[in-house]
Amino acid sequence: MTTLSVAHLGPTAYRDGLALQESLVRARAEGGAGDWLLYPDHPPVLTVGRSGSPGSLRSDPETLRRLGIEVFEVARGGDFTWHGPGQLVGYVICDLSKRGRDLRRFLRDLEGCLISALGEWGLAGEAVPGRTGVWVGGEKIASLGVAVRRWVSYHGFALNVAPDLGFFDLIHPCGLRGIQMTSLASKLGPAAPTLAEAREVVARNLAERLGHPAWRWETADEARRQAGVATTDMREPVRAALNHR
């Protein structure tokens, strides 16, 4: 098993994130890329997986339009979920052929990685059989939803670090009624890790859980390059950072 490459993509439109994942999945299946963990920063967005039911959406299209929230239907498992600022979204591009093509074990590994990360912050996360995701004291702190194409996984997990939990009122998260969402910030207050710290800790735990001997930070450009998507030169980050202000 090789090194797990980890990249923070920075601000990423949901559509662009999806396109990058799909290109990377193709490259992974064809041997042009290794296993990747991508951290996109998505603007608020609702996505619905293949087991989505219209009843899980609690808000009308007008409200969503007013809030500037787009809804995407995606080929992952699971029902409705929300992504947005303050949440650590991790796309896991992993060749499952090299891991016995065991889907459930992969899900358990994702859960396990988040649970051990939570442990490092002193939180007892748990997996609840039949309710995939990670829970802390009966409240849901992370959601999972995975897609597999040519035995390469994509999509992944969303860990609530410090999002506005009010967004989850727009839906019945994961199609579950009466479910309480929580976050690291609500559980830990000022002791909660920053997103940057969370990225580091989760990456390390994921590499360990998936049996990678090492992991390393890569640039978003390198992810795009391996995915066969055009890259920019190194002046671009500076320009983007300047425009960011």
């Binding site: 498992g77 995975v146 597999v148 390393r216 978003a220 500076v238 950072a241």
Partner: protein, 469 residues
């Protein structure tokens, strides 16, 4: 003869899957490997590719229906084959039902029994390589021990689990392989017993990690590096270990001795007020990180060194016999500690032609490749000057050894808030000691001190870049 499309094995504990979506309609032509259908289990959605080129002649299971693994869900006709030639002895309720029916959510029971028996259908093999616990009782041979995951091997090493002990662990992984959880479960039990696997193989004690000069097949557990903790000596076991040098260690040893024997090592020290660089880094790290570039202090040290080297070219050189070769290119080496794998000093090429962000990206790349044994020969050749940062491990000062045949090395260290006097007032400032190790044969003390002062000055007053760059 139509090819059956079945729900493939999706994992050891996965017995059923739901047809989430047909990506092709009945009658569609499909290419080999083209996705046919999405199957969902738990929260995973899997695309099933077509095993061959042909026409999707029949869809047997409608969307939303949950079926057992191995169930035939569609049939494919090879190009030129006539539809309906063989009715395909369909079994069970769902296969009789065409696509349109059964929109209601599935009750998996009726499909169960009959189709479970049909699991190892011949077409199944063409979709997924067969796997699973067919070998039953879970014994792990030594040969299989080589297929253990790195995590398992690491735990074995840390906990002193010998390869012979593995055989008593019941493996729940593929082909009875011992997984991390199996091993941890075993260790939790073993912990109660003080002795190391005394019961399992009384004739064979824990292998003492003392491979002789002839490199016999070492068990993977003891193939650790130079400094990694080896198997903990059992009570009464050996109190010392003899570990042969690795190839890397031999090279390091030779280089260090050559450096100390040839260069007339001398050191001098200075300090820099890092307020400006700390502020710059604090402001720009998050911005650049958002763009995927991790910013450390190293690019600043490289930049400052290159500018000072341009001013004092003699420091950027090499002794060759009784000549001094002064170099007008700036390949800056950086020492990378790699725990047990040993120090290595790859260099960044042509640093004078790169901006800070490029340097930052390349520093990260070079350091990670060094740690992962992914350096190319070119990376460690052709250096002209080196920097070593003992500060990352906590040092506040050091007298570094020159990376010969270079003639000087810059030591940078931990940045510490210290009380300093500014305009008659005692104030706290982030201070850093800097040192230079130089070959006094060719670099005079005056030159070394001036060079080091300039490096510190450039760090203290980044605006000087306007004048020097």
């Amino acid at each position: 003869m139509p090819i059956s499309i079945v729900v493939p094995q999706l994992g050891e504990s996965v017995a059923e899957g739901t047809v989430a979506r047909w990506l092709k309609a009945q009658g569609d032509r499909v290419r080999k490997e083209e996705p046919l259908v999405e199957i969902q289990t738990d929260k995973i959605n899997v695309e099933i590719p077509s095993p061959a080129e042909g026409t999707l002649s029949r869809i047997l299971v409608a969307e939303g229906i949950t079926v057992l693994v191995g169930t035939e869900i569609a049939q494919l006709l090879a190009p030129g084959e006539v539809a309906g030639a063989t009715p395909g002895a369909s079994v069970g309720a769902s296969s009789a039902a065409p696509t349109s029916s059964a929109v209601s959510r599935p009750a998996p029971e009726p499909v169960a029994a009959t189709q479970a028996a049909a699991a190892p259908a011949p077409a199944y093999a063409s979709l997924v390589a067969p796997q699973g616990p067919s070998h039953g009782n879970g014994g792990t041979s030594l040969a299989e021990a080589r297929n253990l995951s790195p995590a398992v091997r690491r735990i074995m090493r840390e906990q002193g689990v010998g390869a012979d002990e593995l055989s008593v662990i019941r493996g729940s992984g593929i082909a009875g392989r011992v997984t991390r959880d199996d091993l941890l479960g075993y260790l939790a039990q073993r912990g109660a017993r003080p002795a190391v696997a005394g019961t399992s193989a009384p004739g064979a004690p824990v292998p003492v990690p003392m491979p002789g000069p002839t490199p016999g097949p070492m068990p993977p557990a003891s193939r650790a590096g130079y400094l990694a903790p080896q198997v903990a000596p059992a009570a009464g076991g050996p109190r010392e270990e003899v570990i042969p040098f690795t190839k890397v260690r031999k090279l390091i040893a030779e280089n260090m001795v050559r450096a100390k024997h040839t260069a007339a090592h001398t050191h001098c020290f200075d300090e820099a007020d890092m307020s400006a660089i700390v502020a710059l880094k604090r402001e720009w790290s998050p911005k650049l990180e958002a763009q995927g570039v991790k910013l450390t202090y190293m690019p600043f040290f490289i930049k400052a060194s290159v500018l000072a080297l341009r001013e004092f070219p003699w420091v950027n050189g090499e002794v060759k016999g009784e000549t001094m070769v002064v170099k007008r290119y700036y390949n800056i080496g950086m020492a990378v500690g790699r725990d047990d794998k040993g120090l290595i000093v790859p260099n960044l090429k042509d640093c004078d032609r790169k901006n800070l962000v490029q340097l930052a990206a390349e520093v990260n790349d070079l350091a990670t490749r060094a740690r992962n044994d992914r350096l190319k020969p070119d990376d460690i050749m052709g250096g002209t000057f080196s920097i070593t940062n003992a500060g990352v491990y906590g040092a506040i000062n050091s007298s570094p050894v020159i990376n010969v045949p270079e003639v000087a090395i810059l030591g940078v260290h931990r940045i510490v808030e210290r009380a300093v006097v500014r305009d008659g007032q005692i104030v706290a400032r982030p201070m850093m000691n800097a040192s230079i190790g130089f070959d006094h044969r060719v670099v005079d003390g005056e030159l070394a001190v001036k060079f080091l002062r300039r490096v510190c000055e450039l760090l203290e007053r980044p605006e000087l870049l306007w004048f020097y760059a």
